[in-house]
């Protein structure tokens, strides 16, 4: 191997760091917690991570385009409530369609706020954080903080609980969404535009890409993903309230950053989002198996986020290509 290809190999390492992390994690967890490798446990991780993965796939698009949406968790909770409650009135298919519409509408409202105010980086985060509070308060007030446990149709409960062979439907749906969004991002003009406006908005604008229109599509994808995740959550847990989605945006965010997404846009792909979320869920699972309590897990969540972001920034600054802030 000559020197040049070795350099190439080194520069490719960060690209696949999340795979390395996953391998190390699997190695460690199999030593620390022998129960990690039982079929039940692995299946559990798969199912738990699927809902977060779907949220993360959508949020990932928004993140690549240089925006951020911290209200996805609440959006998902609202969608899950609507999908469950509305079945009585408009049938299962109607409820699913309505939920998708509501998810898209909420996400586009966020986009509109971000667009109208011409917010940038940190301002976007603060705006969506404020919107998250508003939505959550509204959802709590309108539902009276009730937990809904409605009877659902067979089709609806099959979405989250059924299996094909041994593979749960929920995982298949997640993979389906991942493939569709993945193809959109990596093989279409839209995908290249998203990466381009995330990397350098000004250059993209000058080369004729419409930033608002591209971001509009990203938020649309994110909203639809939130709705899908909400439907699956409702179907899987059969009990949802206005706080069901609390913390999902942090989970998704952690997964994305572990997967190597740049926090301020321009870098990322769907498989990274999925692997990142699975790594993150596996870490949580191992902590559970080791008997760490809920508070310890919250601590771990914060520390993981900080480490992942620090590593991300370090690699990007070292490589020189990426943005710092």
């Amino acid at each position: 191997m000559n020197k040049n290809s070795w350099k190439k190999f080194l520069s490719a390492v960060p690209e696949y760091a999340c795979i390395a992390v996953m391998l190390v994690l699997i190695l460690f967890s199999s030593i620390l917690a022998p129960k990690f490798f039982t079929a039940d446990n692995l299946m559990n991780i798969l199912k738990q991570a699927s809902v977060v993965s779907i949220v993360a796939i959508g949020m990932g698009c928004v993140l690549i385009s240089g925006c951020m949406d911290l209200s996805v968790g609440v959006e998902m909770a609202i969608c899950s409530i609507i999908s469950m409650v509305m079945q009585k009135y408009i049938g299962t298919i109607g409820a699913v369609l309505l939920t998708l519409a509501v998810g898209a509408a909420l996400s586009l409202l966020n986009f509109l706020v971000v667009y109208i105010t011409r917010a940038r980086a940190v301002e976007i985060m603060m705006l969506t954080f404020g919107l998250k509070m508003a939505y959550r308060g509204l959802a709590q007030a309108l539902t009276g903080n009730v937990t809904y446990r409605e009877e659902t149709s067979v089709f609806f409960s099959m979405l989250g609980k059924g299996t094909v062979g041994i593979i749960p439907n929920i995982v298949l749906i997640m993979l389906g969404i991942a493939v569709v969004v993945g193809v959109l991002l990596s093989c279409s003009k839209f995908g290249r535009e998203v990466v381009s406006i995330g990397n350098n908005p000004e250059a993209s604008r000058l080369s004729g890409i419409s930033i608002p229109w591209t971001r509009f599509k990203c938020f649309l994808i994110s909203g639809l993903c939130c709705a899908a995740a909400g439907i699956l959550l409702a179907s899987r847990t059969r009990a949802v309230n206005a706080l069901s989605g609390d913390g999902y945006e942090m989970d998704a965010m952690c997964g994305l950053v572990i997967g190597g997404y740049a926090v301020f846009g321009g870098y990322g792909s769907v498989w990274r989002a999925v692997v990142g979320v699975f790594v993150y869920s596996a870490i949580k699972n191992v902590l559970n198996l080791l008997g760490v309590d809920a508070y310890g897990q919250q601590l771990a969540q914060g520390v993981i986020l900080l480490i992942a972001v620090a590593v991300d920034v370090y690699l990007r600054v070292r490589r020189g290509g990426g943005k710092q802030s």
Partner: protein
């Protein structure tokens, strides 16, 4: 000429105008807003988040941002209440303030040395600090029964508690530090233009760390005061306080982009938000809707600020 002067006057004192309109509005809608008891209550409520607000003024002027202040408040309260029985009032306060300094150093080093974005970094430390508070207290509230502590929280000056006076004192100290010392001037310089400040020989990482230490120490002080006032420390004491504080400071006219602002502006902003919250209480709006109002208010404030900076950069 006269019109221009009027316009620039309005621009500089728009926060004061908002406050005046709000006060007039309340005078018409709910005259019992001006009840002395209500005003006293308002000042009591604003004093604790106000102390954090003055700390946050430094951070925002330096162009940074701290989401973790709520968790710092919670953790400080828990540390203070845990140490109080064994250490006594003064030593416990001292240790808590030192803990605040350490938390500030943690945030500050993450931002200034590891170059994390301050929003993400402090979002992470929000979880870390809250988790530590939960681990110490196991989620239960901790009651305090120290005699000095009870005496301080019952102490009255006129008919006021001691808290509003600490708040005003913090404001005066902030004003002095920002406008009359070299540290303050350098913080403005760092927030105004980091590269120019660095070229002028200002130690930028030091001041970036310093502003986090200041805001976290202020939050630790607020945590102690909150514990004194409630006679117990809870793990939810500081939830969502960071957003209130940041929006208060920004509505007063301190820019989140850095380099602009001051103690007086923050004071007006804090009073505005306090008046709004108090009015919502008086008008009988429930807690969930207050959250909605607060969320939309934040969106409005940040949105307007961001739009106006956009207009400014476009016109240059």
């Amino acid at each position: 000429m006269k019109k221009e002067r009027l316009l620039s006057f309005l621009k500089h004192y728009k926060a004061v105008m908002i406050l005046a309109v709000l006060l007039l509005f309340m005078a018409v809608i709910k005259p019992n807003f001006y009840n002395p008891a209500n005003i006293r209550n308002l000042f009591l409520k604003v004093s604790i988040q106000g102390i954090i607000g003055f700390g946050m003024t430094f951070t925002l002027i330096a162009g940074e941002f701290d989401m973790s202040v709520g968790s710092v408040l919670t953790l400080s309260g828990i540390i203070f209440a845990t140490l109080l029985p064994s250490m006594g009032f003064f030593l416990a306060s001292l240790v808590t303030l030192v803990a605040g300094v350490l938390m500030g150093l943690f945030n500050g080093l993450l931002v200034s040395r590891l170059k994390l974005s301050s929003f993400i970094a402090t979002l992470g430390s929000l979880y870390v600090f809250k988790a530590v508070a939960l681990m110490i207290s196991q989620g239960d509230p901790i009651k305090i029964s120290d005699q000095v502590a009870v005496a301080i929280s019952n102490f009255r000056i006129g008919r006021n508690t001691v808290f509003p006076f600490i708040f005003l004192l913090a404001g005066i100290v902030t004003h002095y530090m920002l406008k009359r010392t070299r540290t303050g001037r350098n913080i403005y310089a760092v927030g105004g233009n980091m590269d120019v400040a660095a070229n002028a020989g200002i130690n930028v990482p030091f001041y970036k760390t310093l502003v986090f230490v200041i805001v976290c120490t202020a939050s630790a002080l607020a945590g102690i005061l909150m514990t004194l006032r409630l006679q117990s420390a809870t793990t939810i004491a500081g939830d969502d306080i960071s957003l209130t504080v940041v929006s208060s400071v920004i509505i007063g006219g301190t820019s989140p982009a850095g380099g602009v602002g001051g103690a007086f502006e923050s004071f007006i902003g804090l009073i505005i938000i306090a008046v709004v919250t108090s009015s919502l209480d008086l008008l009988g709006i429930s807690g969930y809707y207050q959250q909605v109002v607060q969320g939309f208010l934040t969106v409005l404030i940040i949105g307007v600020t961001s739009y106006s900076t956009y207009r400014k950069t476009m016109s240059v």
